[in-house]
Symmetry: C2
Subunit: 302 residues, 2 copies
Amino acid sequence: MSILVVGSVFFDSIETPHGKAQRALGGAATYFSVAASFFTPVRMVAAVGEDFPKAEMDFLAKRGIDLSGLQVRPGLTGYWAGRYHEDMNQRDTLDLQLNVFADFQPQLPASHRDARYVFLANIDPRLQSMVLDQLAAPGLIGCDTMNHWIAGSRAELERLLRRVGILVINDEEARQLSGEQNVVRAARRLLTMGPQRVLIKRGEYGVIQFSADSVFAVPAFPLEEVFDPTGAGDTFAGGFMGELARSGDNSEKGLRRAIVYGSVLASFVVEDFGLGRLRALTHEDIERRYRQFVSLTDINGA
Amino acid sequence: MSILVVGSVFFDSIETPHGKAQRALGGAATYFSVAASFFTPVRMVAAVGEDFPKAEMDFLAKRGIDLSGLQVRPGLTGYWAGRYHEDMNQRDTLDLQLNVFADFQPQLPASHRDARYVFLANIDPRLQSMVLDQLAAPGLIGCDTMNHWIAGSRAELERLLRRVGILVINDEEARQLSGEQNVVRAARRLLTMGPQRVLIKRGEYGVIQFSADSVFAVPAFPLEEVFDPTGAGDTFAGGFMGELARSGDNSEKGLRRAIVYGSVLASFVVEDFGLGRLRALTHEDIERRYRQFVSLTDINGA
């Protein structure tokens, strides 16, 4: 089964303690799509400007990403510039130009309305709901959000969450959205708001998944160097939802496997700036690191 | 095989967002010993004052803890008072009276000098070395330390580490001792300083173990309430080293199982003030939570 994603495509200028990258291809929908494309065909719904390079279009298309929902609009592609601190959990935004993303309205091509697996990357919850309104028979809906919408558009976000199966957010967002400091209580509260599953991303500490009757925690892959954390969360979501759409296995076992694949993809993307590492990634790389995750976490391992 | 531990026995007055406890039995050697006593006989080497209650002596003895190395000295038992913040990773020390602990010199009874499994809880590294000097044929030596000694007694600590098999410290200490911010690089550096294994405690995120050729990460058990984090690290070490001494299995598999047992014990101790939860703990409780850890971490689980 293919996966449909709606979100942002940006150019990012990134500075980390290890170096810098100028106008690297980025945005949540991009990281998600490229990661998911290792597992299943992807349909990307987003907006770029007339400046968007043909070479990047070709790169995305060659990865099996259907670009018929990608609007090319008069103006410039969104742009973000940021600088990470020595502690790379902290970063400052140096510049933000929304450009054509400012009045982005997701319009699904007729051919996309049959989508079963859908991921709503972090955009205005009104737009996320608009996407769901256009689907004929939505199946498994995943969704991300951020502090800006939790604080400023809570009612719209809560309406959306009632239609969402899997919420994928980070620990700070989980606390803010639930009003609970403790991660278990936060997740239990979020599970009452609609989603059947809540996946909480904990950066270098990995991911913890909650459902009504199960908890699953997986560490992040221990890396000696993180070059650029940009897009790690969206890359996780892409690997996770991509593998779910590929397998069609929404059992606890299928979800756990998908969470590990998401963690594998996220562990690669931070090894280089922007999408650099994913551009060179192979299925053999992915399977090798999956096996390393098994060895890293196996209580009965040797 | 029995396990010998050297460290502090204190009374703790503790305030957390959930309540308070006055003069609860505490100290690293106490938490360690009680946790380890669920797995194997324990020999405790420490000093208390004449005020130490007979009821607590009886409690420790009944748990199979050999107190022949516990010095009862003129004066008072050490005392610590602290208050945890809303974020319980932070705490303030309100009072500290070392009392008889101030000039504690570990003297092993002749009957203890054959000890094979030994844990050097956090005390002056000069005293930790003194303990090793008294052992006839030390086997597996575990060791903890803290920021105070890393900053003020580095040479003595480095001398000690060359004699230690397993270093058990928290992430902040690992960074300080290694001079590396990244946990993998920190562990690799610490492995060059003597220990064959480095276990890094990451609080609510669990434990990660490094050796020359393996990495193992286990999350902490997700709890809805942490009543009192005091002693969690020492309780982890007690469950870990206690299980290792019980099984005599120092293989990677044996170490992983011991790390999970340590995590199980630590997950219980924080559920009540001081040693409260461990006083009522049963082997059935431990085995049930061990199985929950398997389910929590099993990539192939359902």
